[in-house]
C-alpha cells in the first residue's frame, strides 16, 4: 500500500446534506403550507362539495379562518427566520449562493430532458443543487412571499381598500387564490413526485428526515459536488469523510 493511497480520505456511505436548522425550517414549511392549502382550498371552493366538506372538517367557516390566519402568521415567522438564516449565517449564505440561478441551469435542464428523451447517453453533471431543485426553491420562496403580501391585503381589507382601488383588490383576490393552487400543484404534486416518487426515489427518500444522502446518489445526481468533496478519493466504505460526511 503506497503512502499516496494511505493519504486519501475514506469515502463514507452517507453525507449530511442538510443541517438540523434547515430540516426544522422544511418541517415548519411543510406543516404550514399543508394547513394553508387545506383551509384556503375550503374557501376557494366553498360552493363545491369539496369546499363544504373541508369547511365542515375544519370546524366551520369561523374556525377555518382562524386556523388559516394562525398558519399564515407561522409562515411569516418562518420567512423571517429563513431570511435571517441565509443572510446572517455562513452556512445559510453558502446555501443561498449555491441556489443562485445561472444560465448553465437552463442548459442543464435541457440536457436532463435530452437524457430522458434518449438524445444523450450520460446524465448531466450538477453541483450542490440541480436546476429542478432550484426551480422548486425559488418557486416556493417567491410564491410564499406573494401569498403573504396578497394575504395581508385580504386580511386587512378595510385598511387596504382605503389606499388601493377596487381593481387591485380584485387582482389580489385572484392572485391569492390561484397562486395558492399553483403552490399546491408545485409542492404537493411536482415536488413530492420529484423527491419521493420519481425513478430511483420511490417509495420515499429519507433526506427530509435525517438530512443525509447516500454517496452513490450524491455521485449520480450531484457529480460536481461529489468531486469537490472527495476530489481524488477512491477508497470506498470508510466511516467518515469531509464536510459533514457521515
Amino acid at each position: 500500500m503506497s503512502a499516496d493511497r494511505d493519504s486519501r480520505r475514506p469515502i463514507p456511505d452517507q453525507v449530511r446534506r442538510f443541517s438540523a436548522t434547515e430540516l426544522a425550517q422544511h418541517w415548519v414549511l411543510m406543516v404550514t403550507l399543508t394547513v394553508l392549502a387545506l383551509t384556503g382550498l375550503a374557501l376557494f371552493a366553498a360552493d363545491t362539495w369539496l369546499g363544504r366538506t373541508l369547511i365542515a372538517a375544519e370546524g366551520g367557516i369561523e374556525a377555518r379562518g382562524t386556523i388559516h390566519r394562525v398558519a399564515a402568521v407561522a409562515l411569516m415567522i418562518l420567512t423571517g427566520w429563513h431570511f435571517l438564516y441565509v443572510v446572517f449565517t455562513e452556512r445559510g449564505h453558502g446555501q443561498l449562493m449555491a441556489m443562485r440561478l445561472r444560465a448553465s441551469d437552463v442548459r442543464g435542464f435541457g440536457r436532463l430532458v435530452a437524457y430522458y428523451l434518449g438524445r444523450i447517453e450520460e446524465l448531466p453533471e450538477f453541483g450542490r443543487f440541480t436546476p429542478l431543485q432550484k426551480l422548486q426553491y425559488w418557486g416556493a420562496g417567491i410564491g410564499s412571499l406573494m401569498m403573504i403580501a396578497t394575504g395581508l391585503v385580504l386580511w386587512f381589507h378595510t385598511a387596504a381598500m382605503m389606499v388601493v382601488p377596487k381593481w387591485v383588490f380584485d387582482v389580489t383576490t385572484i392572485v391569492h387564490g390561484y397562486e395558492g393552487l399553483i403552490l399546491f400543484a408545485l409542492l404537493f404534486g411536482w415536488h413530492v413526485y420529484i423527491v419521493h416518487l420519481s425513478p430511483g426515489n420511490f417509495p420515499m427518500q429519507r433526506t427530509f428526515l435525517d438530512g443525509k444522502i447516500s454517496v452513490e446518489r450524491l455521485r449520480r445526481e450531484h457529480a460536481r459536488e461529489y468531486r469537490e468533496l472527495f476530489e481524488d478519493d477512491v477508497t470506498p466504505g470508510g466511516a467518515s469523510g469531509p464536510g459533514g460526511a457521515e
Binding site: A46, Y116, G118, W190
Partner: protein, 62 residues
C-alpha cells in the same frame, strides 16, 4: 377580543364571497396560465417516466 376577531374573520370570509366578481377576462387569463403550468409539470413527469422505462428496458436487454 376573540369574538371580535372571529366575527371580523367570518365577516371577511362572507364579504369575500359577496364581492362583485373580478373581470372574467382576468380570470380566464389566470386559468390559462395555471393550466399551461400544470401541463408543463405533467409533461416533465411523462418524459421522465418514459425515459426511465426505456433505459431500464435497454439495460435489461444488454
Amino acid at each position: 377580543m376573540y369574538s371580535t376577531l372571529a366575527s371580523a374573520i367570518v365577516g371577511f370570509d362572507r364579504s369575500l364571497q359577496e364581492l362583485p366578481p373580478a373581470p372574467s377576462a382576468l380570470r380566464t387569463a389566470v386559468r390559462v396560465a395555471l393550466g399551461l403550468l400544470i401541463l408543463a409539470l405533467v409533461a416533465y413527469i411523462v418524459i421522465e417516466q418514459l425515459g426511465s422505462l426505456r433505459r431500464r428496458r435497454s439495460s435489461r436487454e444488454r
